[in-house]
């Protein structure tokens, strides 16, 4: 007699799916996105300025094989200019995120660990910072620091720490009650020692995810502030500058000036987001079902 095969499989697999498991797929997604972004960043970093220099004889060329993103009103190649711009934005985003997350880590840990007045002070600072719209605060700080790359970078850096601070603080509050932390205290270790040896290493996964997710925010805010004219000066290749210049030529039908740089920015931001979300699932699998 033929016995029917059991229809129930222990490994759920949808129709037509590949043999890769979720973890591998996440790793691949993260790697692809990271490679693309890193490629853009490094290419832009080492780009020869003459590739996006002024060439008045080739103004307003629509996208073609010679200039795949077209050229602008000063005949600059929009592909290389956008690339350099995105690279610049990423650099500013990177620096801003690093500063921002360092502040968040320090504040978050200190707040939870010391409690009392320190905690109140940090929470007050967080509330103050979150009470104002981000963009307004970024503009204020940027202008107060004299604008330019430093202004925007610090503007973004000093406004993006509150969310991460809260997350880090919540995490540390949990850890503080853990047995091994209490044990460490009982053995006479100082708070600083406990923080460095027991708490921070456990916060790192959350911190890294937070850092990566800060990135798209930082880049978008840099672009927005520059777009509004409070950020990078107009001679710097930056996505914000490119888009605000493009606005002036939209009415005359120069669509390529806005479309391609805009797409480039959106793709970069979405990819950062993908990396962040996937990293979250990889580093913190328990939260994957949230």
């Amino acid at each position: 007699m033929l016995r029917q095969k059991p229809r129930i499989s222990l490994t759920p697999r949808s129709k037509g799916s590949t043999r890769l498991n979720t973890r591998t797929r996440l790793v691949i997604a993260v790697s692809v996105a990271a490679t693309y972004l890193l490629g853009v960043f490094i290419w832009g970093w080492f780009l020869d300025p003459s590739s996006y220099a002024v060439h008045f004889e080739s103004q307003f060329i629509p996208p073609s094989w010679g200039h795949i993103f077209g050229t602008d009103f000063m005949g600059r190649d929009m592909f290389f200019r956008s690339l350099k711009g995105l690279s610049n934005s990423m650099l500013i985003g990177l620096l801003a995120s690093l500063i921002s997350s360092a502040i968040a880590l320090a504040f978050g840990t200190a707040s939870a660990l010391f409690g009392g007045k320190v905690d109140k002070l940090v929470l007050l600072a967080v509330d103050c910072c979150m009470g104002l719209p981000h963009l307004v605060l970024v503009i204020l700080i940027s202008v107060a620091l004299g604008g330019g790359a430093t202004g925007v970078m610090l503007g973004v850096a000093l406004t993006h720490w509150p969310e991460l601070t809260r997350i880090v603080r919540a995490e540390v509050l949990q850890l503080r009650e853990a047995w091994y932390v209490k044990a460490s205290y009982k053995m006479g270790k100082s708070r600083l020692y406990v923080a460095a040896k027991h708490i921070v290493p456990h916060v790192i996964p959350v911190y890294i995810v937070g850092l990566v997710l800060l990135f798209p925010h930082a880049i978008m805010h840099e672009a927005a502030v520059t777009f509004l004219g409070f950020g990078l000066p107009a001679e710097t290749p930056a996505i914000g500058v490119i888009l605000s210049e493009a606005m002036r030529h939209i009415a005359t039908g120069k669509w390529w000036l806005a479309l391609f740089p805009g797409l480039l920015l959106i793709v970069a931001v979405l990819l950062f987001d993908t990396i962040g979300e996937n990293l979250k699932r990889l580093l913190n699998p328990a939260s994957a079902h949230e």
Binding site: V54, F56, F73, M74, G147, G229, P233, A234, E235, M247, R248, I250, A251, T252
Partner: protein
Amino acid sequence: MKRALCLFLLAVFALALLLGCGGDSENAATDSSANSVIAYVGSNIFDSSLDPIKGSMPYGYSFVTNALLRVTPEGSYVGDLAYSWTVSDDALTYTFDLLPDIMFSDGSNFTAHDVVFTYQTVIEHQAENEEVDLSRLAYVTALSDQVVEFVLSEPYSPFLDVTAMQGIVSADAYDSEAFDRYPIGTGPWVIAQYDPNQQIIVHRNHHYFGDAPHLDQVTLVAMDDTTALAAARSGQLDVVKVNPAYSFEDVAGMTMVPLQTMDVRLLSLPVLPLQEKEGMTVGNDVTADPAVRKALSIGIDRQTIIDNALNGIGHPAAGFSAKLPWADYIPVDDNRKDEAKEILAAAGWIENDDGIREKDGLLCSFDVYASEDRFALVAALAEDAAHLGIKIVPHSSNWGEIAEKMHTASIIWGWGQQSPTVLYSLFSGEAALTPGGWDNAPTYINPAVDAKINAALDARSQEEANKNWIAAQELAGKDFPYLYLVNIEHTYFVRDGLDISPATQVPHPHGHGVPVISNMKDWKRN
């Protein structure tokens, strides 16, 4: 299925709505056949008061008010409210004979007392008016209803320019608050409706003493440049101020008209080496070398720069416009690259491997700061100067930053006005090293030039004044403290069938937009 039907109906409805909108704008276009005009002349006119006592229309267009004199398209002065004037031998007393039987737009009579009232009110409220300087006016008095006399405390030849710029308002009707929007004057137009930041509607003034305007009504609308271009395309506007960058856009039913200006774009080149002077940091080691300044002036190709940055609109300039009686007009003879290179080489500037000149380890490179709208001009200049081995680094900047850098870097300026006092601002050593303000950015101090400027200010006649102004420019020109680039033109789209009378347009002063209304009474539909 129901859902699909709903979506379809919605789409049809939306389409109908869109088509409906399109139809409206078509109507607006045909509506312009009436004897009225809708114009976009920039939004600056909405930013400040319309009251001449507070400095409205400081360049003397006869719009709502008239001044005692007016400027002709050729750049000389003729009577407007006054028909003749005399200046005493000591150049302290100016007497104006006023035209009789002139009425304000409210029907009241214009007399010498209105002139006295206007000038006295300006003096009393000088803080509210930065456009006109009456500090040397001792007093003004009406000798009769038709004669007004100004007495100065010291000779000041540009006072005549003041009388051609300052609009006269009605003394009886004057109300400081109301006049911000509804001034009453003797001009060809009267404000019929003022909607802040939306529109100003003017009607023909039936009491105007000159030839009546051809048009019945003009509406000046507030927009931004790109919206205005779109509105022009859809046929809603008759006159549109347009940036030279868009001036060759195709707009159906409209023609681009370039109008001459007295506005020049020039770079200040600091003449002193970098140093501390009277508590200020001034100078630039590269531009301090006269060879660099001279080589730039004769070596660059202004026409190519204009073609590249301004769509070819504007005229190469090596000085102020020949239309100004006090200008030392110099015909442009540039693009002498070989000669310029020889001057640089003789001064010790030798090209390095990158094609940039060097002298004792100092790179022949300097920064130029430009407001955003002038950045392209500097970028085009930088491209051309590179052929000489001079590296110009253009920066798009704001006026705050420019104020910080103006004495140590090169700045691109725009100067254009009827009054020669601009020469004092540009060249006077007395104006150098005064913190605040925009005067004498290159810190150019030359006692011989100062003597000529002072002689011009103290001159007993316009001829004598102009002779000294020209001499001052000639002297200063030898040192090249400024690099003149272009005498710009103001561009407008004008609807076919509307004549804005380019022949009676005065050369426009600084500020693209409003000056086009200077001869609005001569506009007519064909």
